[in-house]
């Protein structure tokens, strides 16, 4: 599934750069993600992967460039309005490394809260939707518990349900399994895999090479603030174009 074959990309980045003062995190990134595409982003730590992901929904404001998400375009640097950012974020769901659930709300309320306050659904409708989603991630029995009572893997699945409840067009995953034991990470990856096969557009910053190879449609390798590879995962993983990629893969796979 080559990105260029699709007419209207779901997500498109044009000349996006991010600096903190003098320090450049990444510069001039161009990227298209088609509807239904699953893109994995890998690379050594400090390459700017997470920052790039956070720029897509303006959790970090890019220093320059233009981001289009589900037909809404925001150009960085010229007085970005809160309303535009709000509208763009509504189309993207995000899953964090550390889950970021609300510890003072029950599992059900975690998933229903934004539906009621943002989408103005009634409590009844919101809870109905939440229960369906919790069932989908295998956690309907936990609706009444508090996040602290759930394992890390369960918390991350709740966080996925919370993001899905807003009916996003794209899901952004920021190292969703990095804070989990490998075994526990598998249950999260299983949910993500199912989501991918249902046709959700996904961008995943990850260290899970197996997932990147077997589930993603395209693979992006970032290093030193640049995209150095972009294409078919199997091909990149077996025959990388770039020495930097080879070095990285040897370090990750060779242990």
């Amino acid at each position: 599934m080559d990105a260029s074959q699709r007419a209207q990309p779901m997500v498109s980045l044009r000349g996006v750069s991010k600096n903190y003062g003098e320090r450049t995190i990444f510069s001039d990134v161009n990227l298209d993600v088609s509807p239904g595409e699953v893109m994995a982003v890998i690379g050594p730590s400090g390459a700017g992967k997470s920052t790039l992901l956070r720029c897509i929904n303006f959790l970090e404001e890019p220093t320059s460039g233009q981001i289009t998400l589900g037909g809404r375009t925001i150009r960085a640097g010229e007085g970005v309005s809160g309303r535009d950012v709000q509208a763009l974020r509504r189309k993207a769901g995000m899953v964090f490394q550390h889950f970021n659930l609300f510890p003072h709300m029950s599992v059900l309320d975690n998933v229903s809260f934004a539906q009621m306050r943002v989408l103005k659904r009634s409590r009844e409708d919101a809870n109905k939707r939440s229960l369906a989603l919790l069932d989908r991630v295998g956690l309907a029995d936990f609706a009444g518990s508090y996040p602290a009572r759930c394992s890390g893997g369960q918390q991350q699945r709740i966080a996925i349900a919370r993001a899905l409840a807003m009916d996003p067009e794209v899901m952004l995953f920021d190292e969703p399994t990095s804070a989990l034991d490998p075994e526990v990470g598998l249950e999260v990856l299983a949910v993500m895999k199912e989501l991918a096969s249902d046709g959700m557009t996904m961008i995943i910053v990850t260290h899970e090479m197996g997932f990147a190879r077997d589930v993603s449609d395209t693979l992006v390798v970032m290093a030193d603030g640049k995209i150095i590879e972009h294409g078919d995962p199997r091909q990149i993983l077996s025959e990388p174009n770039h020495d930097r990629t080879r070095l990285f893969l040897r370090a990750v796979l060779g242990r």
């Binding site: 929904n57 959790l59 709000q86 974020r89 509504r90 993207a92 769901g93 995000m94 964090f96 550390h98 970021n100 659930l101 609300f102 510890p103 003072h104 809260f113 934004a114 306050r117 943002v118 996040p147 602290a148 009572r149 966080a159 919370r162 993001a163 807003m166």
Partner: protein, 221 residues
């Protein structure tokens, strides 16, 4: 054991004084805490003027002794044409002190709410006000609870300063009994024990709350 009959004699009067002390404490907290919360929220405002005013009010009211604030309200304000009864001056001054001190406690509590949860709200499209109302403030209050309870004990003790502006609270009652019977030690000791009867159990309660909180918070992470 003549002091026992004395104490039984004095007790109803002192108890009335204690009730007034508790009433002043309650009113000061009722009035001061919401103001403290507003100061805490606006102290991190993006508007520099708002921020400056908040920080100024807090720093001056924290820097001056409560006794000075109290006497300023009672003896100082009349020169500007505002005359307050001693009771009103008492709880208004203590409410201002409460607002200033609790705003710092609450600010620390609000800041202790993990930034990741605020980011989660942003990505869900939750408005700034809703984030504050449903996520930051409920948790910040909970984190700040033990410190707030500790401060309530201090304000209860500070009501004794209202003696200097002739509010008939516990210490005033004890002092006036002392000056008519000359049994200062005995009556002041009884007053002291009445204060302690409130503060020592309350301090114990703070300790219990603190322990429960820390257990709750470690479970969450």
């Amino acid at each position: 054991m003549s002091f026992i009959t004395d104490w039984l004699d004095w007790f109803p009067t002192l108890f009335d004084g204690l009730l007034l002390s508790l009433q002043i404490t309650g009113l000061s907290l009722l009035l001061g805490l919401p103001v403290g919360l507003l100061l805490a929220v606006f102290a991190s405002s993006r508007n520099a003027l708002v921020r400056g005013i908040c920080v100024g009010v807090v720093e001056i009211s924290r820097g001056a002794p409560a006794l000075v604030v109290l006497q300023l309200f009672y003896f100082g304000l009349p020169s500007t044409g505002i005359t307050l009864s001693s009771f009103t001056a008492g709880f208004a001054a203590l409410a201002l002190t409460t607002a200033a001190f609790t705003s710092e406690i609450l600010r620390a509590g609000l800041q202790a709410v993990p930034a990741g949860e605020i980011e989660a709200c942003q990505t869900l499209g939750v408005s700034r006000l809703d984030t504050l109302r449903f996520v930051v403030i409920p948790q910040g209050l909970r984190i700040a609870l033990p410190a707030l309870m500790g401060f309530a004990i201090l304000i209860f003790q500070a009501t004794s300063l209202c003696f200097t502006i002739a509010v008939p609270e516990l210490l005033s009652q004890a002092y006036s009994i002392g000056s008519s019977t000359f049994k200062y030690f005995s009556v002041l000791a009884l007053a002291g024990l009445l204060y302690a009867a409130v503060t020592i159990p309350a301090t114990w309660l703070v300790g219990v709350t603190e322990k429960r909180m820390s257990r709750h918070l470690t479970l969450a992470h």
